[in-house]
C-alpha cells in the first residue's frame, strides 16, 4: 500500500470551539489506483488532502493518527523533511488554475525552478524537461515562454498538472481540479489525470461531483461532516450505495438520459464545532433509528467500509 491513513484527526481551533474537520478517518491508497473523495462542501475532504501533504496552517492541527506514505509516517516528519517530500513524492493540483500560477513569471521558469531546486540538473536540461512535461499534458513545448495570463483556464490547469508531476511524484492529489472549468475541458483534464495511473502513479481526486467520481475512479470514499462514511469500489458503490447519505448523493445527481426525478437531500451539513450527538447524519437521514443516538462504528460489508448502524447485524 502506497498511502495508509490511520485514524487521522485534523482539528481547527477557533474562538467558538474546536472544529473537527477530519475526525478519525482511515483510508488506504494502492499504487496505480485512482481514488475519489466525494462529499458536500465543508465535509472535510479538502482538509484531508491538505493534511496528507501537511499544508494545514494554524489554527488547524493534525491532532492524532498516522499518515503512512511509503513506510514513512508523515505526521512525524520535520517541516524541512516534509518540504523535501512535497513535489518529489506527493504532487498537488489546486482548484483554481487562474490564481495558482505566479502572474509575473513565465510558466517555463516556474517549472524550471522547481526542477533545479530539487534535482541536480543544469538550466538547459531543466528547460528541455519543462518543454517535454508541457507536451505530456497536451500543450506545445514552446508554451514555456508564455505568461499565465496568455493561457486559458484549461491550459493553466494543464500547466499546474505538469508542475505537480515535474518531479515524478508517486502520488498526485487533485483538489477539485475541474470545478472552475467547463465540461469539455473537464473531460480532457480528467483523461490526463487518469493517464497518470499508467505512469505508475496513484491519484486522489477531491470532488463534489459524484457522477465524475463514479465515471473515472477505481474506488470512491464518501465523506460527511468530517467522517469517512463509506469507502469501496466505485462501480459497486455507485450502483448499490450502502450508506443512506451515499444514496442521497446519488439520487440528487441529474441524469440526462433517463427521465428520473431528482431527489435533493433535505437540510444542510451540520456545524462541525457542535455536531449532532451520535450519528452526524441522523438529522437528515430518512432511515434514522433509535440506535443512531450513539456513534456508529465502522462496519466492513463485502469488502466495503461503511459507518452506519444499518449494517450492524451483518457483521
Amino acid at each position: 500500500m502506497l498511502l495508509d491513513v490511520k485514524n487521522l484527526k485534523t482539528y481547527f481551533y477557533s474562538k467558538r470551539g474546536v472544529l473537527r474537520a477530519v475526525d478519525n478517518v482511515s483510508i488506504g491508497v494502492n499504487r496505480r489506483e485512482f481514488i475519489s473523495i466525494v462529499g458536500e462542501s465543508g465535509c472535510g475532504k479538502s482538509t484531508l488532502a491538505y493534511s496528507i501533504i501537511r499544508l494545514i496552517d494554524t489554527p488547524g492541527k493534525i491532532v492524532n493518527g498516522k499518515i503512512l506514505f511509503d513506510g514513512k509516517n508523515l505526521v512525524e516528519l520535520s517541516e524541512e523533511e516534509m518540504r523535501k517530500l512535497r513535489g518529489r513524492e506527493i504532487g498537488m493540483v489546486f482548484q483554481d488554475p487562474m490564481t495558482s500560477l505566479d502572474p509575473l513569471e513565465k510558466i517555463g521558469e516556474q517549472i524550471v525552478e522547481t526542477i533545479i531546486e530539487h534535482q541536480d540538473v543544469d538550466k538547459k536540461e531543466a528547460w528541455e524537461r519543462a518543454a517535454i512535461l508541457l507536451e505530456k499534458v497536451g500543450l506545445s513545448g514552446d508554451r514555456v515562454n508564455y505568461y499565465p495570463h496568455q493561457l486559458s483556464g484549461g491550459q493553466r490547469q494543464r500547466v499546474m498538472i505538469a508542475l505537480a508531476v515535474s518531479l515524478n511524484p508517486k502520488l498526485l492529489i487533485a483538489d477539485e481540479p475541474t470545478t472552475a472549468l467547463d465540461v469539455i475541458v473537464q473531460e480532457k483534464i480528467m483523461d490526463l489525470l487518469e493517464g497518470m495511473k499508467r505512469e505508475n502513479r496513484a491519484v486522489i481526486l477531491i470532488t463534489h461531483d459524484f457522477a465524475l467520481a463514479a465515471d473515472r475512479s477505481d474506488k470512491i470514499a464518501v465523506m460527511y461532516a468530517g467522517w469517512l462514511i463509506e469507502f469501496g469500489e466505485a462501480d459497486k458503490l455507485a450502483n448499490e450505495p450502502l450508506h443512506p447519505y451515499s444514496e442521497g448523493l446519488i439520487s440528487s445527481v441529474p441524469d440526462v438520459w433517463e427521465d428520473r426525478d431528482i431527489k435533493p437531500m433535505p437540510g444542510f451539513p451540520p456545524d462541525l464545532i457542535d455536531p449532532p450527538k451520535g450519528c452526524r447524519f441522523r438529522p437528515r437521514c430518512p432511515k434514522a433509528m433509535d440506535k443512531c443516538i450513539n456513534e456508529p462504528p465502522t462496519f466492513s460489508v463485502n469488502g466495503r467500509i461503511v459507518k452506519c448502524w444499518l449494517y450492524g447485524e451483518n457483521k
Binding site: K84, R86, G87, D102, P103, E105, E113, T114, L163, L167
Partner: protein, 284 residues
C-alpha cells in the same frame, strides 16, 4: 469619430490623471536633480561668500536677492539642493532596506515574532515623524550622518506596515500555496513569488516617504540639527531669514520655503500618480 475619441479620453480620467501627475512630479524632481548635480555651472555666485550689498531685493543681478551677509540667495538655493537630496535619498534608502525585509519576514512567518515586531513598529508610528526625528537627532548630535540616521529610523514603520500588509494578502494567494505544495523553500517563496509582486508598492511608498522626509529634513535643518554656517541648506536658510521677515525682507525665507514645498510636491505627485496607475492593475 473625433467626438467619441474625445469622450473616451475624458472618461478615462484616472489613468490620464495618474500619468499627468507622474510626469509633472518627475519634471520637478529632474529640475532639482539637475540643479544639484550641475550646481557649480548654474550658480552665478559662490554661495558662501558675499557678492553684493546685504539684504538686496530680487533684481536681475541677484534673482532672489541677497541675505543678511550679502550672499546670493539663488546660488545658496542651488547648492542647498545637494544637502537636501543627499540626506533625504540616503535616509529613504536606509529605511527601505530595513523596512522591506522586516515587513516581508514578519508578514510571511507571522506568529509571536510578527506580533512583537508589529508592536514595536506601531509604537514608533504613533509619534509624529518630526518629533521623533528631533528626539533622535538631539540625542545623536548635529551632523549630516546623524540626520540621515534620525530620518531613516522614522520612516521604517511606513515601509514595514505596507509591506507586511501586502505580504499577508499575497501569502494566502493560491500560487504561494501551490509553490509550497511543490516543496519550495521559504526564502524562495519570499524572494521569487512575493517580492516581485510588491515592487510597485515599494516604489509608491518610496516616493511618498521621500516627499514626507523632505519636510522632516527641512524641520531638522531649521532647528540646526544638520548643517552649520556657512553651508547652505533650505531649512537652515528659513531659520536664518526668519528674524528679518517682520522688517519686510520677505525674500530670505520665501524662496527656500517655496523650494521645500515644490520638491516635496514633486515626490508626492510621483507617488500618488503611480499608485493611481498601479492600483487598478494590482488585482489582475
Amino acid at each position: 469619430m473625433e467626438v467619441k475619441n474625445l469622450a473616451t479620453t475624458i472618461f478615462r480620467i484616472p489613468e490620464v490623471e495618474g500619468r499627468w501627475m507622474v510626469m509633472s512630479g518627475l519634471a520637478i524632481v529632474c529640475i532639482v536633480l539637475i540643479m544639484a548635480i550641475f550646481a557649480p555651472l548654474i550658480a552665478p555666485y559662490d554661495p558662501t561668500k558675499s557678492s553684493g550689498e546685504i539684504l538686496e531685493a530680487p533684481s536681475m543681478k541677484h534673482l532672489m536677492g541677497t541675505d543678511n551677509l550679502g550672499r546670493d540667495i539663488f546660488s545658496r538655493i542651488i547648492y542647498g539642493s545637494r544637502v537636501v537630496l543627499m540626506v533625504v535619498f540616503s535616509a529613504s534608502l536606509v529605511s527601505m532596506s530595513i523596512g522591506v525585509p522586516i515587513g516581508l519576514i514578519s508578514g510571511y512567518f507571522g506568529g509571536k515574532l510578527d506580533r512583537a515586531i508589529s508592536m514595536l513598529m506601531d509604537s514608533m508610528y504613533a509619534f509624529p515623524s518630526l518629533i521623533l526625528a528631533i528626539a533622535i537627532a538631539a540625542v545623536l548630535g548635529p551632523s549630516v550622518v546623524n540626520a540621515v540616521v534620525a530620518i531613516s529610523v522614522v520612516y521604517v514603520p511606513t515601509y514595514f506596515r505596507m509591506i507586511r500588509g501586502q505580504t499577508l494578502s499575497l501569502k494566502s494567494r493560491l500560487f504561494v500555496e501551490a509553490a509550497k505544495a511543490i516543496g519550495a523553500k521559504d526564502t524562495r517563496i519570499m524572494g521569487r513569488y512575493i517580492l516581485p509582486n510588491i515592487v510597485t508598492t515599494v516604489v509608491v511608498v518610496f516616493s511618498l516617504s521621500v516627499a514626507d522626509a523632505i519636510l522632516t529634513e527641512a524641520g531638522l535643518s531649521f532647528l540646526g540639527f544638520i548643517v552649520t554656517a556657512p553651508t547652505p541648506d533650505w531649512g537652515f536658510e528659513l531659520s536664518a531669514g526668519r528674524p528679518y521677515l517682520p522688517a519686510g525682507y520677505w525674500w530670505m525665507i520665501t524662496f527656500p520655503g517655496l523650494m521645500v514645498m515644490l520638491l516635496s510636491l514633486g515626490f508626492a505627485l510621483i507617488g500618488e500618480g503611480l499608485s493611481e496607475i498601479y492600483a487598478p492593475g494590482r488585482e489582475r
